[in-house]
Amino acid sequence: MYQRSSHFMKHGADVGAVDELAYEAMADAFMFGQMNADTRDCTRPNGDDYVRMDLVKTDFGVSCVSTGFLRTFYKPPATKIKNRGGPAMFLASECARMN
């Protein structure tokens, strides 16, 4: 519960969630629901991190393959995305992460 609460505190406002439950519902829908046409996904080389990103809205999430739990769901700052070369490059760098 702490992780959900702390992630809501950190990212809730950015993704437009009004409370913890809404944040969790948004994260679940984004990570485990049907992907829209703007969303891409990948699994990191460690085989355990499943990543999704909406390249237009720039919503970003990571879940754990082995447990099925969410790890995080947030909207990276525009400067962070820009520094990595845009949304597609941001996602590519996240997908390639070894740690």
Partner: protein
């Protein structure tokens, strides 16, 4: 419990990785520390006024004491690395258990014990070596040339 490598809070409920968030400084590990070192994140937290991130800070919590304790750890690490081979750190870590366990060993003290440490002479150096071996402290935090 685990020690935060950014603010040195010793009672993180989860390891500083896998997008876990420190309740003290709010660092999300795997996110915030992708583009900034622990030292840089610490400086940002200090410049923001060392705000407590989650809920209410523990009774008696002092950001200054916590940072002082952490800086003492870093200083002892510097001294140990200047005076001995890095293999000493690895040996100490192996002696203490797996690297993940080393985090726990460092952060296992109760808050009361933690505050006791901040006001007393601290250090057999073993805990510090565990921190180094566990990767809690980056070379950038040790200063140029000090690892040579």
């Amino acid at each position: 419990m685990y020690t935060c490598p950014v603010c040195f809070y010793p009672e993180m409920p989860d390891p500083p990785k896998d997008y876990h968030i420190c309740p003290c400084c709010g660092t999300e590990f795997g996110n915030d520390d992708e583009d900034y070192s622990s030292e840089e994140l610490r400086n940002l937290w200090v410049h923001a006024g060392t705000p407590w991130f989650f809920g209410v800070a523990p009774e008696g919590w002092s950001a200054e004491a916590q940072l002082l304790w952490g800086e003492l750890l870093l200083e002892e690490i510097r001294l140990l690395q200047m005076s001995g081979p890095q293999s000493a750190a690895m040996a100490a870590a192996a002696d203490a258990g797996a690297s993940a366990g080393a985090w726990g060993a460092v952060g296992s003290s109760s808050l009361a014990h933690f505050y006791e440490l901040t006001s007393s002479s601290f250090g057999t150096g073993k805990a510090l070596l565990e921190l180094v071996a566990a990767g809690a402290v980056r070379e950038s935090e040790l200063g140029e040339g000090e690892l040579e």
